[in-house]
Amino acid sequence: MPKAHVVLVTGVAGYWGNRVAAQLIEHPGWHVIGLDSDPPKEEIEGLDFIQADVRNPVLVDLLEQEKVDTVCHLAFIESFRSNEAAFDLNVMGAMKVLGACAATSVRKVVLKSSTLVYGAHPGNSAFLREEHPLQGCRRYEYIRDLVEIEAFCNGFRGQSPHVWLTILRFAHIVGPKVDTPMTRFLRQEQAPMLLGFDPMMQVIHEVDVRRALVHAVQHDVPGVFNVAAESVMPLARVMGLAGKPPLPVLHPLAYLGVTLLGPHYAPIELDYLRYPCVGDLSKMRAALDFEPHYTAEETLREFAAQQRLRHYLPESAAMAYDEERLRDTLERRRRSRGQPVATREPAPRPSRRRTKSQGQAHVKDGENGHG
């Protein structure tokens, strides 16, 4: 079977790497190699998993030998506090991956960034275009790292014009499953709002983030793009739709509190609750040719519904009633004991997990052999 495209997804054990790799595999004609220092918690059928760190210098050989066409770099640690380990993985990791891509025949690289890199400033236009200078806040490690990576990318673009760089700057990501600064902010017991400030906000659904990344991998769209859901709305409305009554705080007190208590108490930097930081989406529609499925209202209402439901569900509901997962586990155990794979259930449903492909077993065997 001719593999037209070989994609390397880094950070495949993480949330985004995992989802993106899983969706890419579903498309025929794509060979997906997953790279991470830890194996993914949920095994992905058909994923060609290689356990290695992105900073490994042998990555160049890997890219060359596997004839990798596209790299989707998603290894990133969202750290609030200043954190040397996170900086090393995020910034140095991205630099090393990009360097390796430039040295090999990799055609394009897809990176996930955030509109937070523009920074929230009183002089911001209502809709920031991609050319806007990156003045993201330096206090939060994850924003600082993104700004660093993007600054490096700007230089990289000039040095290695043969590598197409697609950077997607996502607005605040919200979704029932994902853990992002925005969902953390909305899941807090008391979510603060700065008294007398109500900046405009953009959000995007986690599913649309995954779709956009897959879209960028599958289409040749070099450039930087803001990606967000359709409507822009004030923060008070975001919180209202997400079912989180705001707690108004005087802004000098809030800044003092964060300075004293640390950024964990404010998952979103306070400037972003004070000034607007909204991306212009015209380039997303025209050049990227991507349209999110979810509007901001739908995204937030879904989040609110899930937050309400959370109180009524048993804690391990997902685990307890997921028969597919149990079936998979049983099969794996059977296989590891050398027994023949049991025949499928009478009524097979079209599901990714249940239709096991050979690739997974192959990787598994290979690993066992090494051990």
């Binding site: 009183p122 002089g123 911001n124 236009s125 209502a126 809709f127 275009r129 700065l194 008294l195 007398g196 400030f197 109500d198 405009m200 409507s231 822009v232 709305m233 004030p234 008070a236 409305r237 975001v238 919180m239 209202g240 739709l241 997400a242 079912g243 009554p245 005087l250 802004h251 000034y275 607007p276 212009d280 937030l300």
Partner: protein, 429 residues
């Protein structure tokens, strides 16, 4: 039902009769205790239906209708008690002529107010207090009054609760700039008051603003606080046949101020940046610019009505790029709302204000210093200047841009002088 109604009406009549008696009494000896009071207390304690029965009884007795008292012995007893009580009160009053009603009762409060007012303005109590007294004594004991009040209160609270609930759950709409129609409707009465009553703004030439399509208003800026923008917006919203919303471009200082930042955005105003202006004009909005900026708004009193430099001509570039007609607007009257005698650079640095005016009332009197003077305003809207005749890249022609900038400045200045020449008084126009 009808029977009960008539009985209550009759009861009210008899009550009012009694009231006039007591009023005459009290006018005779104001300090003396009102004999009607304990009687009313008694009646109030009895259920309402009974009261009406008593009243009808008294009335029927007065009308000499044969009604056997034995049928209602407890009523007879009550009446007897009332008579006794009245006599007791009379005796008490004789013993303590200085006694007056308790101040915590509604009636006592009125007595007190009346007494106090009488000392200051003789004859004050006769009209207003009499009315209030009548209202308290008559309507206050009518259950329908309370029902009506409760009903009104309930509806208004319910509608408020509904609004609050909708706002809290995010069920409202804003446009992409954050303009919130509900919010504008909520604050509009205040601005309407300032427009019509406080500054008595006279707007002329509002028909020069087309019913739709992109327009760039070029306005002089004055008055320390951006009241001129608020009044221009209010005026066009009220007096333009299509009630167009003016999008004023404001300076980057306002987004840093709590509440004002919020207010500006919700009222549809937009931060002055090139991108914002272009986007608004491309959406065919009515945009207002104040090219003088801080230099204009923070003018000293002695420099009033002398236009400052019109920025760097960014507004002309915007108009040339989007082919939006320029309309000059002259606001007269706003310069005198605050009298800025000097500017303090030190205070500006400390407070972070772009300028810090020193006026006779600011900053010495605190918040009172923010109260503007009620001058008479006029807003003149000039004829549009079309941008169609210029070439494709006219916005890059710096000579043309600076010429148009100066031209606009001269037009606005002339319009201001024309208005000032007609003005006789700062406060009366």
């Amino acid at each position: 039902m009808a029977e009960k109604d008539t009985s209550t009406r009759r009861a009210a009549k008899s009550r009012s009769r009694r009231r006039t008696e007591s009023v005459t009494q009290s006018t005779e000896s104001r300090t003396a205790h009102d004999p009607a009071k304990p009687k009313r207390r008694m009646r109030r304690r009895a259920p309402q239906a009974d009261v009406s029965v008593i009243e009808t009884q008294t009335e029927s007795e007065e009308a000499e209708s044969p009604q056997p008292e034995a049928d209602v012995p407890h009523l007879a007893l009550r009446r007897q008690l009332i008579v006794e009580l009245e006599e007791l009160v009379k005796r008490l009053r004789a013993l303590h002529p200085s006694y007056s009603a308790q101040p915590f009762s509604a009636r006592g409060m009125l007595d007190m107010i009346e007494e106090g007012a009488e000392k200051v303005v003789p004859g004050f109590g006769s009209g207003l207090i009499e009315k209030a007294r009548k209202f308290i004594s008559e309507d206050l004991f009518d259950p329908d009054t309370w029902k009506g009040l409760l009903y009104m209160l309930n509806t208004s609270v319910e509608s408020r609760v509904d609004v609050v609930r909708r706002r809290l759950t995010g069920e409202y709409e804003t446009d992409e700039w954050g303009m919130d129609r509900e919010y504008i409707e909520a604050v509009r009465p205040f601005f309407e008051f300032m427009y019509r009553k406080y500054w008595r703004v006279e707007m002329s030439g509002v028909e020069n603003i087309p019913p739709e399509g992109r327009v760039l208003l070029v306005v002089n800026h004055s008055g320390q606080l951006p009241w001129d923008g608020a009044m221009l917006g209010t005026g066009v919203l009220l007096e333009h046949p299509h009630h167009r919303l003016v999008r004023s471009l404001y300076a980057a200082w306002f987004p840093t101020l709590p509440f004002l930042a919020d207010l500006f955005v919700k009222m549809g105003q937009v931060l002055a940046t090139d991108d914002n202006g272009m986007r608004l004009l491309e959406q065919d909005q009515l945009v207002a610019v104040y090219p003088e900026g801080y230099k204009g708004v923070g003018k000293l009193y002695k420099e009033r009505y002398r236009l400052a430099r019109f920025g760097r001509g960014g507004f002309v570039k915007m108009a040339l790029k989007t082919r939006a007609p320029l309309i000059p607007v002259a606001v007269v009257g706003a310069e005198e709302t605050y009298i800025s005698l000097a500017k303090s650079n030190l205070m500006a640095k400390i407070t972070g204000f772009p300028y810090f005016p020193i006026s006779p009332t600011f900053p010495w009197t605190g918040l009172f210093g923010f109260v503007p003077l009620p001058t008479k305003w006029s807003i003149d809207i000039g004829a549009p200047i079309l941008m169609d005749g210029y070439g494709a890249n006219a916005d890059r022609n710096l000579v043309l841009v600076s010429q148009l900038t100066d031209q606009m400045r001269n037009i606005v200045q002339e319009m201001i002088f024309a208005r000032l020449a007609q003005r006789r008084s700062v406060f009366f126009g």
